[in-house]
């Protein structure tokens, strides 16, 4: 009996890894198509929707497996056969779905959220690699260009007569970099709730990722940065939902540290 259960867990993990891989690769293909001047969405919709729906299923049934997929990505990011923009997109998608599940979103809403989160930073896919892979911090002019990417993303996603899903994608791509409260009036901005989730997921993953010019933040460091900006830059309800993920990932950090210490000692 025990053997059966173990087999099921292994199979579930493989399915989660497979869904993660399909989402990341779909993002990369969209970027390739945009660069080549083709229609990025032709024959791609089903792949994306199925991958994200699988992730949403697991977020409700076995959320830990999704975090294990991200932990596996973090293990050796440089060795992964996928670029930074694609794995950041997939990670943002996974974190968004997990946060949405904590906030009580229904299954269909989680799938909708996952799709818009995956393409929230689609402009990154078409930025030259000099912007995402340079070894030093970006100079001011290049930072400005990346900041303008939210506008570029909205334009890349723009369809002539957008459907509901396309409309949501544009809204979230455009809004997820805007603050929760306006600096001038301190009033709540009218950002779409999905954009508020993606904003937190996006920043959290960016901090947790190793970049050529800095090492990755530990889960506790990344979370405390976001916690400090709750109710200003970020929606406090969403930050509250992130607490659970942060706790789990903090545990993983300790496990990783233990592993490294063990390896050093045994060497």
């Amino acid at each position: 009996m025990k053997k059966t259960n173990d087999t099921r867990v292994t199979r579930d993990r493989l399915q989660v890894f497979d869904a993660y891989a399909r989402a990341a690769v779909a993002f990369r293909h969209v970027g390739d198509d945009i660069r080549a001047g083709g229609d990025p969405w032709a024959d791609r919709g089903d792949d994306v929707a199925e991958a994200v729906r699988d992730l949403a299923d697991f977020a409700l049934a076995k959320p830990v497996l999704l975090l294990e997929a991200i932990a596996a990505v973090r293990y050796d990011e440089a060795a992964l056969p996928i670029d930074y923009a694609s794995r950041h997109a997939a990670n943002t998608c996974v974190y968004s779905i997990l946060i949405g599940a904590q906030l009580g979103l229904a299954r269909r809403e989680l799938a909708e959220l996952g799709e818009v989160a995956l393409f929230a930073d689609v402009a990154l896919a078409v930025l030259p690699e000099q912007y995402t892979q340079r070894a030093t911090a970006l100079p001011k002019a290049e930072r400005r260009r990346i900041r303008a990417s939210m506008l570029q993303a909205a334009q890349l996603l723009l369809a002539d007569d957008p459907t509901r899903q396309e409309a949501l994608q544009i809204v979230v791509a455009y809004e997820h970099h805007a603050p929760y409260r306006s600096k001038a009036s301190s009033a709540r901005s009218r950002r779409h709730p999905y954009a508020r989730i993606v904003a937190v997921a996006d920043v959290y993953d960016a901090l947790r990722s190793r970049r050529p010019w800095r090492s990755s933040f530990l889960a506790a460091e990344a979370f405390s940065s976001i916690w400090a900006a709750r109710d200003g830059k970020f929606d406090p309800a969403v930050v509250e939902a992130l607490r659970l993920l942060h706790e789990l990932e903090a545990t993983d950090d300790h496990m990783l540290l233990d592993t490294e210490v063990r390896e050093i000692v045994s060497f």
Partner: protein
Amino acid sequence: MQSLLAARRTGEVARAYRALGELLEDDARVTFTIAAGHVAFGGTTLFEHPAFGARSGTITVDRGVTEVELAHFARALAANDAEASAWALGRADIRLRWARRRTPAVDALRESLVRGAVGRRLRPQNLERLRVAPELRGAFRDDLDTYYTDASVIAHLSRVLVSALRRSPAHQSGSLRRVLPKLHKRLVAHGRVADADVLVRRVAHHRDAAESIVMVEQATSLLAELAQTRAPSDVTRVMWGPK
């Protein structure tokens, strides 16, 4: 498909349903196979529809799903929307699993993840330790419900695009200009005239910018639609805004 569903739960199909009911009482999970547009169970075709196309896969049904619910699921399939059908039932224990389109890129990434995951497990018990406070969850739900309808999403999109237009260089704003009048029409069609008014007013606000002139002209023509239901003075005010 229609014939199988409306029907004709006679002969083979009815037998298959009965057999399914018996199995569901005994086993925790029953799997149907899908091949070339057919859903088969025990060698008997239950449903067939072009929605399945040439894809293959499985439908997994856990114990507790009744025959009526399965028929409901089948009707959703008949609506030619396989994706929606999976949601239509609204149950967590029915899952559609298509055979995945395998690509070397997906396989390579998945194998890398497997290597990275070896020997590392998170502790599931931590999941129970924290939950988002009900009042925060309720407030978030209220906000999300504001966007429940398609019309409210389109209204929000129109606000976003007008904001994008302000930041967009002249040579990039063509696509935005093209889309906004269509959104305006859809808002009017949805009965969201107030949102349509806001859209026109915001666009008109930028009438002095050279790149927005074409857009204002388009908005002007759209106002003819509004003028059917509003007094001309109102339309003028909406178009050009208060002094």
